[in-house]
Symmetry: C2
Amino acid sequence: MKLLALCGSLRVASVNAALLRAFARLVPSGAGLAPSPRLGDLPLFNPDLDPAPPAVLALHAAVAAADGLVIATPEYAHGVSGTIKNALDWLVGLEAFVHKPVAVINTSPRAHHADAALRETLRTMSAGLVGEASFLLPLLGAGLDESALAASPQVAAVVAEAVAALRAERARQQTSGVAVFPLR
Amino acid sequence: MKLLALCGSLRVASVNAALLRAFARLVPSGAGLAPSPRLGDLPLFNPDLDPAPPAVLALHAAVAAADGLVIATPEYAHGVSGTIKNALDWLVGLEAFVHKPVAVINTSPRAHHADAALRETLRTMSAGLVGEASFLLPLLGAGLDESALAASPQVAAVVAEAVAALRAERARQQTSGVAVFPLR
């Protein structure tokens, strides 16, 4: 199972970015988590840009090729980050996004506004948001880097549960006849 | 009173952009509404970019020079547009944004998710969100262009009320000793 990370922070020292890198190291065999596309390279959403710019087409292709998405993103001023929302704005209406199994990892217990807004947007976009694959991991301020996160039993347990739940959702869709890209 | 428009859509045919241009034509004498900075020219928010890029510094300067802001922005997938949130992400912590009188004009009766999220973010950023200056104008799908909007008595009434309320808030702040940029 090929999963794709989407990171809503562009900071080098981002805990969300570190968590996604640790997630990739902990993914069980038979699955993989590809690094997040550089969402900071996307233009700001503008449907007048037709055909869509290369960075947008690359995002579309990466999402289409993935069996599921793992999103980790910060909250800024009680809202989603402009970076993750801009990436999602470019994915609205993309055929390959519909029913795509998605896990949302929230790294801050205080970030409930952004987490709720993100989930509302994902549901509105008809993503296959998987509740059992989505977790609150209170990492903000813990000062853990990628290696420390990869060594954490709690993080390992979350990764195992998230991947299992995404895999189960994908299997459920395939047996129930839901057409989900990529067709294999 | 110098007001600054902030438009959360980059579409040429955006009803929000048309409304802001009509608003500028209807502003009563003694006030003015400057066109929205091109928010699509901003990079995606990244605090590692230090010093901030020129487009960000230009936005900061335009906001600092304004006596108030008029925001009109669409809802995308039950959320704020990535474009307006990205602009606000760059304004978090800007001294000149705190207590700045802000009017929010919502052009779609269905866009209550984005309107609520935008207001929550503005309050969190300590903007001087002025409820009496903020309106729902159900324009989406009405097919009105800038000229038609500028000729609408309903739009004219909203502009007059919004400007009066922003002016009253600014005056209240000045007499109550709140320090609001620009100091005059």
